[in-house]
Symmetry: C2
Subunit: 359 residues, 2 copies
C-alpha cells in the first residue's frame, strides 16, 4: 500500500505530516492519558488546543480585533440560512452575485427570508467568467452584498475583492480560504467549510465584524445565532472537538510552510503549470476566461468524452485519484488545494501528456 495523489474537491487531501501527528497522538495526547476525542471540551487540555487553533487562525488570516471568529457546524449550507437570519436586521432585501452552483444555492436559501436582488450573474456565460464589476447593480437598500469567491464546479475564482457600495460584504470562501492573502477588513462576514483548505469536514469557520452581531431574528435557532455563539466561544453546544484539533494541526502546518503569502506562491505555480499543460494540448481544454480561472479547482474536458472512462481508470492506476468532474458538468476536475504537493500536479501533468501521446 502507498498513499496516492487525491484530487477530490472536498473532503480532500490533507498534509501527510498532519495525519502522521494525529496518528501518533491518537491514544494519548501529551500527558493527558487520553485521546483528544475523549476530552471534555471544558477541560484544560482541550481549552488549550482550542485557544491555540483560534489564535493561529486569526494570525494566518490577519483578522482585525473588531472581528469575532466562530467555529460552527453544518457547513456552508447552514450559513446560507444563518446569514439572512442574523444580518437582515429588519431589512427585507439582500444583494447576491451568482457565479455558479454554490452562489445559486446561497440565493435559493436566502429567498426564504428576504427578497434576493441579483446584483450580477454569469449564468448567460455558462458560469465561465466572473461578471465585470462595472456592470453590477447593487440595491442600496440591501442588508448586505453576498458573493462566492471560488466556485468549485465550474472552476471560476475572483481575483479581486468587489466594492460593495458601503454594504457589509459577505463572502463564501469555502474553497479558497487561506490559499491567498485576503484583507479581512474589507468584509462584513467571511465563512468557509473546513474540508477543502483547512481540515476534515465538520467545522465551518465564520469571521464576522462585531457591529453585525446582536440583530438576529427573534425566531433564530440558538445554534444559528452568531452573537450567542460568540458569547460562548463557539461552545453553545458541544463542539466537534476532534475536528477542531485537526483544523489546528493543519493551521500549524500552514504556518510551517511560511503562512498564506508563501502558500499562495506555491498555489500560483501549481495552477499555472496545470493550465499551461491544458492550453498547450490538443486533447484537453478548459473554457474559463483566463483571468477568472480558479487556482483551486481546475476543470477540463477531453476532446472526445468517449475517452473519459479510460482516462479516469488509467489515472487511478497511476495513483491519481478523484479526477472525475462534478456530475452536473461532467469531464474532469483536478482540485489542487493547499495540501496538494507540487509533485502531485507534476505527476498529473506527466500522466496527461502520456495519455495524450497515446490517444
Amino acid at each position: 500500500m502507498s498513499r496516492i495523489y487525491n484530487f477530490s474537491a472536498g473532503p480532500s487531501a490533507l498534509p501527510e505530516e498532519v495525519l502522521a501527528q494525529a496518528r501518533d497522538e491518537m491514544l494519548e495526547y501529551g500527558a493527558s492519558g487520553m485521546s483528544v476525542m475523549e476530552m471534555s471540551h471544558r477541560g484544560k487540555d482541550f481549552m488549550h488546543i482550542a485557544a491555540r487553533m483560534k489564535t493561529d487562525f486569526i494570525e494566518l488570516m490577519q483578522a482585525p480585533s473588531h472581528y469575532q471568529v466562530l467555529f460552527l457546524q453544518a457547513g456552508a449550507t447552514a450559513q446560507f440560512a444563518m446569514i439572512p437570519h442574523n444580518l437582515l436586521a429588519g431589512r427585507t432585501v439582500a444583494s447576491y452575485v451568482n457565479t455558479g452552483s454554490w452562489s445559486s444555492s446561497a440565493i435559493k436559501e436566502a429567498a426564504k427570508y428576504c427578497r434576493v436582488h441579483l446584483a450580477a450573474s454569469a449564468e448567460a456565460d455558462k458560469f465561465t467568467r466572473i461578471p465585470e464589476p462595472a456592470g453590477w447593480d447593487i440595491s442600496a437598500d440591501s442588508a448586505y452584498l453576498h458573493y462566492t469567491s471560488n466556485e468549485t464546479i465550474n472552476g471560476v475564482e475572483f481575483d479581486f475583492i468587489p466594492e460593495s457600495g458601503g454594504l457589509p460584504l459577505v463572502c463564501d470562501m469555502s474553497s479558497n480560504i487561506l490559499s491567498r492573502p485576503v484583507d479581512v477588513s474589507r468584509f462584513g462576514l467571511i465563512y468557509a467549510g473546513a474540508q477543502k483548505n483547512m481540515g476534515p469536514a465538520g467545522v465551518t469557520v465564520v469571521i464576522v465584524r462585531e457591529d453585525l452581531l446582536g440583530h438576529a431574528r427573534p425566531d433564530t435557532p440558538a445554534v444559528f445565532d452568531y452573537a450567542l455563539q460568540a458569547k460562548s466561544e463557539s461552545m453553545l453546544n458541544t463542539p466537534p472537538t476532534y475536528n477542531w484539533y485537526l483544523l489546528g494541526l493543519v493551521l500549524q502546518w500552514l504556518k510551517r510552510q511560511g503562512g498564506v503569502a508563501a502558500i499562495e506562491q506555491v498555489n500560483i505555480a501549481k495552477a499555472q503549470k496545470l493550465y499551461q499543460a491544458i492550453d498547450s494540448s490538443s486533447l484537453y481544454s478548459n473554457p474559463v476566461h483566463k483571468n477568472c480561472r480558479s487556482r483551486m479547482n481546475v476543470p477540463f474536458v477531453l476532446r472526445d468524452a468517449a475517452l473519459d472512462a479510460e482516462f479516469l481508470s488509467k489515472a487511478e492506476a497511476n495513483g491519481l485519484s478523484g479526477l472525475q468532474g462534478h456530475r452536473s458538468v461532467g469531464g474532469m476536475r483536478a482540485s489542487i488545494y493547499n495540501a496538494m504537493p507540487e509533485a502531485g500536479v507534476d505527476a498529473l501533468i506527466a500522466f496527461m501528456a502520456e495519455f495524450e501521446r497515446t490517444h
Copy 2:
C-alpha cells in the same frame, strides 16, 4: 505515559480498540491510499463506510423499516429547534416534561416556535426524581410530547417509556442511547448526540417515523429539514465524514460486545456497585430516588465540600479523571457510559474507599 480512566460526561471515554484501529488506519484506509478524512463523501470507499455504519446502527437499535435514520450536525441543541420546525405541522402547542437541565433547554428553545405546555416537572423536587406518570397532564392538542430519557447533570434516568396518549413521543436520548434496549416503535422521534455512548462529538443521530416527515415550516433552513436530509441520505451538505467513520467503529465494537442487551447487563453491574459503594459510605451520598437513578451519570457529594479539591487531585493522581461535577451543581460525577470498562468503576470504588478510610 499510560491511558487513564476518564469519567467525563461528554465528550467521554472511547473503547481503546476503536482508537487503536483509527490510529492504524489514519494514513491509509484499506487499499484506498488515503485517510478516511480525505475521502470524497460521494466516493465508493466512503459510501461503503457510511452504509455499514447506518446498517449497524439500525440493527443495534432494531429500528423498524418505517423509520428514517439521519446523521446530522450541531448537537441536541440544534434538535431543540429542529423538532418544532418539523413536527408542529401547523399546531401551536407541544407538551414537554421537565426533568432537569437538558429538558429545560429544550423547552426554552421550543418556546420560540410554539406554546410549551408543561406536562410534568420535577423542579420542585430539585430534579432528584422522574415525575410519577400518573400525575402527568398532557395537552391533547399538542403536536408531540417531549422528554429527556437521561439527565447528565442531576443523574436521573427514566426506567420506563412514557405513555403519550396517542401523541408522537419525542425523546432526547443523547446520554443513554445504546446503553439499554429500547422499543423504537413506541416513538415518533428519537435524537442523540454521539459524544457520550456512540463516538466523538460532531454527529447527532435522529430516528424519525416517516409519517412525521414533510411538514416543516416554510422558513425551515434546508439543513434543518428532516425530509430533505432523509432524501439526500444525510448528505444535503458535506457530512462530517471522519466522525461518521468513528461512530461506525464504535458500533462495530458494540456488536462485538454482544449488542445492546449485553452491554445493558454490564451497565447495570457497573452502576449497581457504584451506587452501593456510595450508599454504604458515610462520606459520600447521592440524593436521587433509587428507581430514578441514572446508570450513565452518577453524581455524588462528599459530606464536607472542603474535601472536594483534595478528592479530585488525589483521584487524578490515581489515574481517575473527569470526576468534577457540573459547575451548576458542584460535587462529583462519574459518567460511566458503555465505553467505561468495569475495571474503571472498580478502580474508582477502591479509590473512594481508601479516601474515606483516611478522612
